[in-house]
Amino acid sequence: MKIHAYPYNDFVIPFLIGTILLFSIIIYKYIRWIRRFSDEQRKVIRSNWYSWKIFPAIWEMIREGLLHVRILKENLLLGIMHQAYALGWFLLILVGAIESRDAFFTLQHEQSIETVRELDAQNGWYIYNTGENKDPEYLNQRRYRVETEDGIARIHYHRPFYVGIFYRYFVHKAPAAFHQHKAYSDLMDALLLYVFLGLTMAIIKIFWSKILGMRRTTKHTIVDRFSKFSLWMIFPLRLLAESVTACLYGNGGFFTQAVGNLFDPMIVRGLETSVWMLYSLMLGVFFVTMPFTRYMHIFTELLLIYFRKIGVREETGKTGYTLFELNACSRCGVCISGCPIDRVLENHEIQSVYLIRSLRNQERGSRLKMIADNCLMCDRCTVDCPVGIDLSALRRQTRAKGAIDTVGNYSYLNKRQSPFNAIGRVAYFGGCMSHLTPGITESMEKIFTAAGQKYWYMDKLGTICCGRPLQQQGFTNQAAELRKKNTDLIEKSGSTMLVTSCPICYQSFKKEYNLNIPVVHHTEYIDMLIKQGCLKVRHDDRKVSYHDPCELGRGCGIYEEPRQVLSAVTNLQKTRYQREKSVCCGFNLGDTKLSLEEQTKIRNASLANLTSKPVDAIATACPMCKKAFQHATNDYPVKDIAEIVAENLIN
């Protein structure tokens, strides 16, 4: 005869139902999304899904999914809150599972029938026997008769997966040989307190978000709030349930036991299963609502990080990857804090978090259009996003859906071409905006000559736009036409390198074109020339603050080269918001909705950052930014890096 000991009580049912529903819905959704991946993305997944790339992927999953390093760096308190929730809860589950495994391992050696009797009497275990001497009477009346030949009962302890969650209830009295019992319960209490820390901060955040360093938190929908409430209730209920059990059986850790000692055993005895039932019910409710609320991010962000790390990228149309991105957003609100439209213009409706919410709710109509169109595309939120959602790409996709993207009427561009006046090594593309700032193009020509480089100024007579402004507004086909024209021109010229003066063109040539020659921005090019010794420059004692253009810095990650060039010719001053945190000049081509007055406000905020310390000049690397600042101030000369270098050339 075998005796089976199975921890079970009716209160686990809500939890079980919740878990089953949660995972079936999630798996169903994931399969649907994965089927919607484009062929290109499939190819990437097929060739990379099991390569060395999974190691950095796993590392980032741990770093962003559990530790939340990026939020921590951005905002310490907010990071601690997210970490407390994620890491705290994860460890509660993990340590709970390890603890129950260890306990059951010890239990397995306790073959005394007394233990079984105790388990049955006190802990609500389900005890049954199988084997030859199956005694129906035993099952009904729950009596144990041990009738093995050697007089030793064979007790099999079963450990269903939920035992870690309800461990304190099922193991009222730890097996005598399980010495680590006290240490485990203390550790579990510490972890519960850790989660409580996050919970307290979350509640504080609702009323005084400024304490947590957030100027503004996300406005949530009713469903989200309901789900959040159930999440918040899980942990106090767990504390209550464990404390009641600790009060009755003294198996709690330092915290639950202390709380439990406050109760009167006579009163709480009848309530024990009820509070455990409430706890399980709350878990069930949360699990069922999870796939339909922002908490879907918990699992989705891990998959998103995995896909992104193995090389899957967002495309111009909506794909399965887009769906993963939409659902990986936790609506943490980090994108709100940095947004210049929120901070300067007090417009709290268009931030990326709301774009994603509208897209996820499959909204259509004017509200979505308003959200999608009113954005500078300065990429600040994309850089800040803790899970690395390509927010600008999502906006481009949304815009493309509304745009009248027909074939353009660009045949006129063939009529007049800049002649290949010097077919040389370097093609120079000034870009449309540089034609409004002739200082930049003249300086570049000076620099080319001083360095003895052969160059072909491809748009000297008239420029063909790079296509990015059209792309940003969703005119994908028309942008492709312009790209084709430029590509043909560059390929025909036989150049071996492309230098651009405009970061907008630079990003376009680098990311949207498929040129087979290197593309560099002029700051990179000058830096290279100085390092190679082709360009002799002198150092003057001007103090200069540098404005990181959005498209160059956050867009292409060029932060170092401009700084090195500037350090070589002037004294570069640090500013408060620089590199990834730089404030857009407000005139970025991404936006068509802002009025001049609004753009001016953002520009002034950006300028205030650059002139917070005494400087002699403001440097930038973008004709657009230069033009914007130039209009704003007469006190400081606004110069492009090329101009400053050209002034400091040694002939």
Partner: protein, 110 residues
């Protein structure tokens, strides 16, 4: 006559009382800054497309106002949205938005 490279143009006079301003008002609604335009022509002067072809925002503005929508869409497709016009406009008219909205209105009220 054609030999001389010129011809008599058909009269382009419009009775402004009869022209429907529905589309024009729609445009003003969507791009309020357009009300400030005083037709100085800076936009056309700086335009990248204008360097190559007879594409003039000023002319398009006039046509749109006079209710001459024919061929306007084809003209508007020449725009590359590069934004030079917006930057030089002395009246702060959001010209890129103007062009996008013109195309949209022409499409909606086809």
């Amino acid at each position: 006559m054609n030999k001389f490279g010129f011809a008599i143009k058909t009269p382009r006079s419009e009775d402004m009382d009869k022209v429907s301003l529905e589309r024009y008002n729609m445009l003003l609604d969507r791009v309020p800054s357009f009300k400030r335009c005083f037709q100085c022509g800076c936009c056309s002067a700086t335009c990248s497309a204008r360097q190559y072809t007879e594409f003039s925002i000023r002319r398009i503005h006039t046509s749109f106002r006079r209710g001459e929508y024919e061929g306007l869409d084809e003209q508007l497709k020449k725009c590359m949205l590069c934004g030079k016009c917006t930057l030089v406009c002395p009246r702060g008219v959001n010209l890129r938005s103007l062009i996008i909205n013109m195309r949209q209105i022409l499409d909606e009220t086809k």
